[in-house]
Subunit: 417 residues, 2 copies
């Protein structure tokens, strides 16, 4: 069984909204063993929608449509589906009663335009919607079964569980599918890909691919097989092979972040960490405390965004800043060492650098960052020179990730990189 | 001129990534007067991609393709475009030289697989990419001009400005279109929409709509007219009317954030701010320092994630914490007052709350947050109770925004809300 997803709504095509429904549906359908082959997003144009329905029905077994079921004149799913089926729209009495009941339930008057939401192409099946006003629709179109749901994520999610999950289970996807994601940090995408190139030829099963997002290179493994256990076995073998090849570049899997992995390693060891941030301005603290339970190992931190505060809060000697500059190996070292001491914790990370876009010089250009790490065996500082192609956001993001990765490698007893 | 956007990448069809490029492109093309009629997202399947290129070229004048230009075997844009054009791939010497230069510039070895990124369909034009390794491609296909860019947003954005903007301007979109966005904070979407409902009927020009994202309600105004000045005049009249209706709920326009607006207000007044964060864990500091030039008014902050640090760093009496709890009006007040004093600045913000998902009690449930604001005329504290439907991320995000909005209103001499 193969699926396509169609999203309707002019707001998606003006850039006013990002289409998150398609990603959600793809994730859920994939987990049910139904690969999604195409997303199509269309504006509110009845002919274009009807022809897209017909085209998809020629390729896919399952079509999920979101949006276009509201009460206004630019909600065209019902009419376009009737066109594609070559039938007329009829009013469904049960749907109308449910819409009327919905408005009674929320103590609001039902306006006349809501009546059109009870219409359905002749021969299609209205799908009751307990979570909002618009009923969904199920229809057979060529070789495909089409489900149309409202675009409101909460209603769409509930209707997916109610109507599509049983449909897929009943049909039996006939195959197992296993998805695995490994997360790496510290090497570029082409470098990672080269180490596993022989696993990546087109058409191989499992399919192995890499993606890059903000410095994180992910390796995705998708295995298909006759059964779920067989797909899991295939995928797990590739996971083991990729881990062997990439070694400690792999910091985690699935939803792991550098901060969550560092947190887990600290918790396992009963150790604590504090942060002393300049150029990252609180970002490392934010990333650490994104993780629920981080108060077990994260004691706190300071953001010393001015020279005076580096001295006042962290005891970095003013003479040191005057002699070497705030962005220097010496200041990063003092920030980390003094932070560890003042917070009385096992580890402390420090950052000082030039995030730009202004503030750089020939000697100390935008992108120059020093990261300090203090632990029981002393302080180490690394200098990074990020390309001037990086934005302010990217320089701050990579600096925070490099600091977290330095701590991760230190906790694992590895060299700095 | 009408456009279509095609996004390539299996990660988009497994739900692993949300396609934000299509929304960005639609927004930018719309602003240039080029409506986008369709988004199509495809997995890494050469035949499906080639046939989608051909189909789009039969409908649209401009096709923008993102993704599939990387160095690996699942990057199929080059090959599929050659198929659709009925030509072969050739290596472009200039592109190869630029890729080699890029790797020299970042001091990394170029691996052999990067050579394929210099390939281009015969008759198409390689587009230099100064921001990454993969050159883009411009090709004529049936009635359409197709631009293929890397999927990395930073590179794609830069190449859009370099190559598509001049192309559209040269062709002339033939009509004026004006987009305006006003940003509001402090009221729900239905509340905002109710105050401007008469401006929002379908078919009205300008089209006025609201969208909600992470507590920010945006009002979008899109005006069409025969000429750009006429469209601007229409849009500006609605901007004035919406601002009049919504008053101080409007904190800014376009790309303004609460942090950037607060920064501007502080800079205008020559005043400074510091932060004392518990539940937001560095997020307010991060948001303030996202803004370039923030060192002019942000002096620094502390993240006191443990009770001991609230006492050690901020002088919050341990007895006060014992008597009232760390999440209390009293502690928020002491954190803000002492932070302002220790950092010797004009304003200080504090947060203490329960971000969850664990750590709540009947008395102090998840979502309870106290926000303190200290200034020259004393300290005010507000208590917020966010619904238990909010995630940890959302509670932290809203707490940071409420703190920034409190400071914004105070700087403008407005009541707390």
């Amino acid at each position: 069984m193969q699926a396509e997803v169609i999203s309707l709504g002019t707001e998606l095509l003006t850039g006013a909204s990002v289409d998150t429904n398609s990603a959600w549906l793809s994730d859920r359908l994939g987990a049910l063993g139904v690969p999604v082959r195409r997303h199509t997003t269309l504006a509110d144009d009845r002919d274009a929608i009807a022809s897209a329905f017909r085209e998809s029905a020629g390729r896919a077994d399952l079509i999920v449509v979101t949006g276009g079921l509201g009460p206004t004149q630019d909600d065209l799913t019902r009419a376009a589906l009737a066109d594609a089926m070559g039938v007329e729209l009829v009013t469904d009495a049960d749907s109308l009663a449910q819409i009327e009941a919905f408005f009674r339930g929320i103590n609001r008057p039902m306006v006349a335009s809501n009546r059109v939401q009870a219409e359905c192409p002749r021969g299609a099946t209205p799908l009751p919607n307990e979570w909002g006003t618009a009923p969904g629709i199920r229809a057979e179109l060529h070789r495909a079964t089409l489900f149309a749901f409202p675009g409101v994520p909460r209603e769409m999610h509930a209707m997916f569980e109610r109507y599509i999950v049983p449909f897929v289970v009943e049909r039996g996807s006939g195959q197992g599918i296993a998805l695995r994601v490994l997360r790496t940090y510290g090497a570029g995408e082409s470098n990672v890909a080269e180490q596993i190139a022989d696993l990546m030829p087109p058409g191989r099963n499992p399919a192995v691919g890499t993606t890059a997002s903000e410095g994180i290179i992910s390796v995705r493994i998708v295995a298909h097989a006759e059964s779920q256990p067989a797909a899991d076995t295939l995928a797990n073998a590739d996971v083991a092979e990729v881990r062997k090849r990439l070694g400690t570049l792999v910091y985690g899997a699935d939803d792991d972040t550098l901060a969550s992995v560092v947190g887990m390693l600290l918790a396992e060891r009963g150790q604590t960490v504090a942060t002393a941030e300049s150029c990252t301005g609180g970002l490392i603290a934010k990333l650490l405390t994104d993780v629920s339970g981080s108060s077990a190992y994260y004691v706190g931190g300071v953001v010393t965004y001015s020279n005076a505060q580096k001295t006042a809060l962290l005891g970095v000697p003013a003479e040191m800043i005057a002699a070497h500059g705030a962005v220097s190996e010496q200041v990063a070292r003092a920030m980390a060492a003094n932070c560890r001491e003042r917070f009385a914790c096992d580890h402390a990370m420090s950052t000082t650098g030039i995030a730009g876009p202004s503030g750089g010089s020939d000697d100390k250009p935008v992108g120059l960052v020093y990261i300090g790490l203090a632990g029981s065996d002393g302080v180490s500082v690394r200098e990074y020179r990020l390309s001037d192609r990086f934005s302010r956001d990217a320089i701050r993001d990579r600096s925070a990730k490099m600091a977290l990765n330095m701590l991760r490698r230190s906790l694992l007893g590895l060299s700095a990189e």
